[in-house]
Amino acid sequence: MDPKGMLDKLLREEGISGYSIQGKKITIFVEDEKAAMKASALELFKEYEVEVVVTGRFEAL
């Protein structure tokens, strides 16, 4: 599966706020530290540099 497909699947999980693929870098945005631990533990993207950023939950304002 391509990384976008995997990330789209990951996005459906609770605590995951978003993601970005830019070149060989993947950024995963998460709601809290707990979700950050979960995202950091992923070994799905071995060819990529993975960064996890705690942004909180995005809500329509």
């Binding site: 706020s17 978003g18 993601y19 970005s20 939950r57 995005f58 809500e59 329509a60 304002l61």
Partner: protein, 256 residues
Amino acid sequence: MSFDRRARFKDLAGGISIGSEEITAGTLTGKFIDMKDGSEVMVSNYHVFWGKPGETKIVQPGPYDGGRVPEDVVGILKRVIELDRHKELPWWKKILCIFFGWLLEEWCYPEMLPNHLDAAVATFNPTDTSRTLLKGVYLDDGTRLEIQETHPGDGINGKKVWKSGRTTGITKGTVVNDKATVKVWYGTEWKKFEDVVIVEGEARGGDSGSPVFLSTNEEPSGSDKLCGILFAGSAKYWVHCKYKYLEEDLKVKWAT
């Protein structure tokens, strides 16, 4: 007395309270030109101008800030970008699916288009004809800044931006990601957006619709460029749609 963005304005411009008769309150992005007919129109998020095109009234200030029908009506919802749209099937595929849809169920299911934009356009025809729609955006001291240029919103990682919103006024931020896919909670359901911009900066409920500008100086100035429309956020971040999609999908241009 300090400048009150939630008040009723005679001269409307970006950064003040507005909303459809069906919601609480959001922010007016500003004055735009409808590329379909050349008319002067108002733009904000669809969830701020929520309703039925051709029917729903837009009030300034928004209902939560005291805007009422009919005295505060400033326009009618004209056009929206529906979320979770599906790509239309080509005619030949439609015919095949009419006859063989039961067999080709998955193949016949139309592909979902990505959401890029939470935006809508409304006419400007106020009940009180002395009210006007002006170019530009209000600053925190109540002066109005006219901004001439726009920016598509791409390639701005690490850049400084600012927004003008009904709740938190002018706030500045830094772009942390200019090509993100996010999910946003709309009170009853999640919506997924692609190719949006995440900014480390302050925004709160009621700031939706805020115009976002790419900074050229430390303070807001006329040489800044409109680069997006804010629609979501968390405690320390906001998310905005790129300006280019206002032109490409909603078919409106920033009035200069």
